[in-house]
Symmetry: C2
């Protein structure tokens, strides 16, 4: 990383030239990941993992505040478990890695490396749940899961990834449904409020729902190339898994009843969303609430003044750290200020604080916003007041910018031609009427290359005819190309 001169070599492909290459350039140059020596797997390098830790902290707090507790279930799942829910086995079987030998012996029953844990958790819940008094059960797990994907892309689709999976069991359908919706609200609050990523909330069509669910809710975000990224899902399972795994409880009326279950998850693919929603040709841009470092202090000025400036900068550093601002300082001598400016812009730190001898004379510091490039001259005495407000402003501005971009690239399509034009040429989301027939959903996929994202709870418009067959529309659906 270190370079002995002012020559900062950006080496990031512009987004407009090749968005995919821009993405790979940024995540490698910003040191977020590296390719692992196993097909489709990546290494989360410290800067990338730190972002995930920040997401974990925010989500974990919200899960606990809403009455969930963490637990840990085994990585391996016996093959027979997958047979117990028909849709589930069909959905996941093609992607499973199998352990067939262990401890020098061939196993009697193959063990799948978990792609998700509904089955093994269902098995345990059947043991733990006996009476209505045991309900609800509200458990979350932080874990690694594996799906042997054909096409992989760092963070977005990797053979192994990290996630949280919540699994709850309830006495009634209403309670389970309400949990499913509450979690979607929680995810929305996190993704919009913390990650500054606006989402469309809605229900998946049957062909896009989770394998084994009655229905799936999702939040869908738009990347800067106009493609969709499913940022979180919440599944209502009804009694599908309860029946498959015999999860029954003795109710107050002394009869045995099957429980109703839910599951829900957010994975490390969310890191890809942060990058592709906020990043630009200069690199990463991190919303202040999730940025591991919110401010970088860079002391500047001639050599002979150096000690004095660095000492002053260190005092400012302490002042800000005391106010719980996540701050770092780069006082390396062998790198020019210009090099550092570029470097921390590329790494996406929301605010740069410059301080030099002349600023010290004037009793001021210079703040530079990563989101707008704006330069602010702030009297030192006001710094600890202004900075938290500035971070808040940046947070809101980043959300607003992302929302404007998304809204500008969301259009209503009244015909297949319009829909195709929107997703292919305008690179955006198309809202279109849909009759509810899977055939028409497939037609959109074939003709426009777009999949249904979700049936939004609050569509900006209600469409009356199906974009494919022209019959009466049952739903207004967001269609888009998707990661």
């Amino acid at each position: 990383m270190a370079k002995g001169n002012d020559q900062y070599v950006q080496n990031i492909t512009p987004q407009s030239e090749d968005f995919s290459r821009w993405y790979i350039d940024v995540i490698q140059k910003a040191d977020l990941m590296d390719y692992a020596p196993v097909r489709g797997c990546i290494v989360f390098k410290p800067d990338g993992y730190e972002l995930w830790e920040a997401c974990q902290r925010e989500l974990d707090r919200r899960f606990k505040e809403t009455g969930h507790r963490n637990a840990y279930f085994p990585l391996f799942i016996p093959e027979s478990f997958f047979e117990k829910e028909k849709e589930h086995v069909e959905g996941f079987n093609p992607e499973l890695p199998w352990v067939t030998e262990a401890g020098g012996e061939k196993l009697e029953e193959r063990l799948a490396v978990r792609p998700t844990s509904e089955t093994v958790i269902g098995h345990m819940y059947a043991r733990w749940i006996q009476s209505y008094r045991d309900l609800p059960v509200k458990i979350n797990q932080w874990a690694n899961v594996v799906r042997w994907e054909k096409r992989t892309l760092p963070f977005l689709r990797t053979s192994e990834f990290l996630w949280q999976e919540g699994h709850t069991a309830h006495a009634t359908a209403e309670e389970a449904e309400s949990e499913t919706r509450m979690i979607l609200d929680l995810y929305t609050d996190f993704v919009e409020g913390v990650l500054a990523i606006p989402v469309y909330r809605g229900q998946k069509t049957p062909s896009e729902k989770f394998a084994g669910a009655v229905h799936t809710y999702s939040i869908e975000a738009m990347m800067k190339d106009g493609k969709a990224l499913q940022a979180g899902t919440s599944h209502y399972m009804g009694q599908n898994f309860a029946k498959g795994f015999d999860i029954q409880y003795l109710d107050r009326d002394n009869t045995l009843k099957h429980v109703f279950t839910t599951s829900w998850g957010v994975s490390t693919r969310i890191l890809g969303a942060i990058i592709m929603v906020h990043g630009d040709d200069r690199g990463l841009a991190l919303p202040p609430l999730i940025a591991p470092k919110q401010v970088v202090i860079i002391p500047i000025g001639p050599k002979k003044e150096r000690d004095r400036v660095v000492a002053h900068a260190a005092a400012l550093h302490q002042q800000l750290a005391d106010r719980n601002i996540r701050v770092t300082m780069d006082d390396r001598e062998d790198l020019s200020p210009g090099w550092k400016f570029n470097e921390y812009e590329m790494r996406g730190i929301p605010v740069r604080l410059e301080i030099g001898p002349r600023d010290m004379e004037k009793g001021q510091v210079v703040l530079v916003r990563r989101d707008t490039g704006e330069k602010l001259f702030v009297p030192e005495g006001e710094l600890t007041e202004r900075l938290p407000r500035l971070l808040e402003e940046i947070q809101h501005n980043m959300f607003d910018k992302a929302k404007k971009f998304r809204d500008d690239h969301s259009h209503v399509a009244h015909s297949m031609e319009e829909l195709t034009h929107i997703v292919r040429d305008q690179k955006g989301f198309a809202l279109a009427g849909w009759c509810g027939d899977e055939v028409c959903e497939k037609a959109v996929k074939e003709q426009a290359g777009a999949t249904s994202r979700n049936i939004p709870f609050d569509p900006p418009e209600t469409l009356s005819t199906c974009v494919s067959c022209g019959k009466s529309a049952a739903h207004s659906v967001w269609f888009a190309k998707a990661y």
Copy 2:
């Protein structure tokens, strides 16, 4: 769990009758774990996982304070990687589970499910480390690992377990060695200071060191059955892995040099140590610093007074929570106070706070210590001052008690007969002289059933002759039966 009457059924086998059954009784009754449907695997239930989360928080903070950063490396390791360090492959090969099929196809190269990550991390470090400027690299990983063990025991030895593994690379042997020792200090600080478990610090004999290490340091704790539990290890690898994986850097003198590496880990087996060091016939006993709940409030008194007492108890709850005391309240109506007293003693909560109408009249509360059973009548006005001091006192008392037990069960053995008597009949640790020959170490194992635990840094006595061959002793060694 809920029972409608005063009949608390303990169902815990006394330690003196059968320590192993006591252990299993306690961890199941205290709801820490359940057996998983996969051989040798367990489920960490919420109360068990919460204890691990508390350990994670304490360790993670210490790692970060000492300049380490977290990262995440892949679960799967190509078979060929294990061949690159000869001792390492011999040590781990017999315990590996193998993925041989994935995504519907047979894999060209088998993938091991990681038993530890030196190999894959070595591969990545070889890519990341080019220059002396890249050193040191100090990374930690929180992960699941798998070792297909023949005999398993919940928490202590399971096929899959959770742990942290630190991996560092340094320019010099001295720096790597100093890291190895610093981490042993960090582990000691955590295990003695937070878990209230006294440890013997020392170096493993060559036959007991990590497969591939130059040497291994360990901290060894004594369980209440006199058996040893290795609570943490820190390995100095020298250049073994650096040479196996070609981790080289260009030094200031413009020559290529191999780095020196370390690795170190603490796993979920530490939960077993907490249970087996502090637990007693009434169940778990958790040191206040690690207890997820430090105080349980139980309102008591006749029905007609109930609302008044519960409201008052809730106010106390708030008061303590505001002081960052981890407090919970059990105001369930269908359970008697006596049942609750037993239940929370069994779950190991350090302090029980009882409050009833008569206490309210007197303006006092009753505090009951889990560690001594002592009852304290404390004026309400003094509660927020007294309670933190009391928790501190309990913490220290638990350490002192554990240390006294350990010291009382640690003896010097001058002969094989004495050694055998100490570990078999007195159920303790034996310090004995050892010539340094593996043959004599094996003789101890065969005759006394004890393995060498470590060569302590500060032996209570220095022994001059080998306990087995009678020749001059090179070291004084702790021998014990071990988990």
